[in-house]
Amino acid sequence: MLENAYLIPLLPGLSFLAILLFGKRIKGGQGAHYIGVPVLAVVWVLSLVAVFGWINRVDDVTPATEAGATTHETAAAGVGTAGDPASPVVLAAEGETGAEAGHEAVAQPVIRSATWWSNAGENFRIGTLVDGLSVTLLFVVSTVSLLVHIYSIEYVRGDERYTHYYAFLSFFSAAMLFFVLSQNIIQMIVGWELVGVSSFVLIGHWWESLDNSNAAMKAFMTNRVGDVGLLVGMIILYFAAGSFEVPVINEMAASGQIRHLLLLAAAGSLTAAVMSKSGQFPLHTWLPDAMAGPTPVSALIHAATMVVAGVYMVARLYPVFYEGYSIGTSSINGLALLGGFTAFMAAALAFVQWDIKKVLAYSTISQLGYMVMALGVGAWTAAIFHLFTHALFKACLFLGAGSVSHASHHTFDMREMGGLRKVMPHTYKTFVLASLALAGVFPLAGFWSKDEILVGAMRGQQSGYPLMLFFGLLVAFMTAAYMTRVIWYTFWGEYRGHGTPHESPALITGPLWILAGGAVLGGLVNLPSAVADKIGLGGAAHLIETYAEPVRYLDQFSTFSVAAPSLGLALTGLALALGGILAVYLYYWRRLGPHGLTEQSVWARRGYTFLVNKYYLDHLYTGIIARGVRGPVAQAAYWVNQNVIDRIVNLVGESARETGRWVYTNIDQGVVDGTVNGLSSGAEATGEGLRVIQSGRVQQYGSLLFGAAAVLAIIFTIVI
């Protein structure tokens, strides 16, 4: 399967075509899922096969890691085990451990490629690169996509564009899997744009409403801004490394064969792409608006998969970012700062939203910021682990929100919900489980991945990243608090909407329970070894650490190996999460604390307004930047037109007229009668001659053009 991984994106691509061509004929346009769901099921199985294939491959190369407390010692000794003799670029083994460990083999990524097209001697290849990172993403994407396909059968039933919806769901899956498996950066760009297009199409699925089509346009346009950065960054990388291949670029960046300034420029440009696609400050504004799309789409594209494309890209080209931002040596860097700040500011915005999906959208931005921060502090494994767990519980939350809306007459406004826990027990239970996982409550998935990020921030490099640690802990508290608020408004209190809410059918609650199971158990994928040994799981419980880490670069990036967990930090994080829940619990359930603060305090009201207006970023973009650019440019063009061009034209015309008049008055009139006739006809001829040039006849202009060319050619042949 590792060799034939191209089948994984190919199948949903074919299903896209099949649905597009035949979908309308199945059950009167309501049966597209008969194609979409089975194909995705096959893709899911294939992805699972790829995951186990990769695990076997790693096990075959490296002796199986011994279970127990020795794992970390072996990992530490394995720090110097890169420098594979088979690799074209032999890594410079730095330090004595590298020299001693010698050339122990590590699992190479499985690359299969063919020439796609070639131009002027450069071959552009297309193919698949399968390694631990890509199989992790394959599993995440195919799992969530399959569940969303199943969920949508019920959710989108009866929609007039049912076929279209399933076609683009398949298209998105194909594009995302293609992107994940890309073997070179050209392919990455193509996949990146394809997922952007499918996101655009699906956000605007109900385009009859102006808001929806505006949201789709906004998402597309905002992403274009970042795409410029992507193109620039990839071009820099190509010219720096002389190749499009991801492994070559990575090895050259890791071994210091590319100048640091180039890497910094490339990393900076690519960070702009991360900002737009993964919703980082200040280009995150499209993501909350993208909630205009159908809820399953939000779960799949805008929570679990597409928005992590930026995180994935950073992880894939990690040596570039690592060296470019000097992650291993400096105490602060752009990536960590960007992620930490985004995590904080989005969490603050989540408090003032009334739309349940927008709360989740800001929560997604916040968690993406967490991942970017983790990559920024060098905690690669923790970032990928968090990507994995976040996909499970955030998809569960979104699908739960969809279920709530499905039950209560298609509203997402939490003010029209309330009390739903009695009528929707399944949705309520799964939603609470996923919220607790998101909040990071022991022992659910989010707790483990969040803890690893915090450990990374604490022990990142020599002195840790205190600011990032602060952001991380603060966001942990805020996340727990705003999720508790959502649960209060949605499921507790009295029902404030109209009609009778009811539990959703099994096609909706089934995926919810599967994802909730993932949210509970997802942490088992990468437990800290100290914990894993206690409960007797041993090596099986840190799959990502063992199989996904790019050990080929380990001698360079010592932070890849997970830092030893800290009990104190874990307890602090847990205490903050529980504290957040408790604070909101007291506030809403027990009616304690300062209610009506916004009515009483001016500052609180101002802060609230500031948050409700989303830091005025949208005003900045449309009101100030767009209008600011559009207005002055138009005015400047108008001014130039009026004052410069018109004046020149007028001047030329007037001077020609003045010349004629001057010739007429001074030469014709002023000269004695005897010469009048000859000279006046001469002046007239001059005027006529000047007019002839401005005849407006193409052929006269052509004659002048070719005549001038002939004259010039004659001059050149004579001179040279």
Binding site: W117, S118, N119, A120, Q699, Q700, F706, A710, I714, T717
Partner: protein
């Protein structure tokens, strides 16, 4: 070699004479037919220059498609058929002067530069397969650019000529 030169002289004189008639004849349809003669003669010359695929394309695209377009253009603009005296404008002496001057300087420059340089007697022959390889590998991006241009021209022509 003699046969080649004779063939060249024959074809070249047809091409040159037909070209002159194309731009001087007083009948529009005749002009189009003279243009066919020019294009066909050039196709033959392309074969002499070992460019078989270009010659084929010349026949297919130019004589087949472009000429039909021209005839349609003549019909659709209801050009009066038969002899017309006003097909050539009043400024033809200027045009003739410019063209002659240009021809003189070009011929002088060519003779000056190439004297009696010969084409290689055993030239490298590129078959259609080689042309195809080259177009789809070395010149792929120009090829794509041309195809986009053709698409744009197609859409542009439809938009311009549509009645509404």
């Amino acid at each position: 070699m003699v046969a080649q030169n004779i063939a060249f002289a024959f074809i070249a004189s047809i091409v040159a004479l037909s070209a002159v008639r194309t731009v001087t004849t007083r009948n529009i349809v005749h002009a189009a037919l003279y243009l066919v003669a020019v294009l066909a003669g050039l196709g033959a010359l392309y074969v002499m220059l070992t460019a078989e695929f270009v010659a084929t394309t010349q026949f297919l695209v130019y004589i087949g498609a472009v000429m039909v377009l021209f005839l349609f253009g003549i019909m659709l603009t209801r050009a009066p058929l038969g002899h017309l005296d006003d097909l050539t404008g009043k400024q033809w002496p200027v045009a003739l002067g410019v063209a002659t001057a240009l021809a003189a300087v070009l011929v002088y420059a060519l003779v000056d530069a190439f004297h009696a340089a010969e084409l290689p007697r055993n030239p490298v022959i590129y078959r259609t397969a080689d042309v195809g390889d080259s177009v789809f590998s070395t010149y792929l991006i120009p090829f794509e650019a041309v195809s986009v241009l053709l698409l744009a021209a197609l859409i542009g022509a439809v938009v311009l000529a549509r009645k509404d």
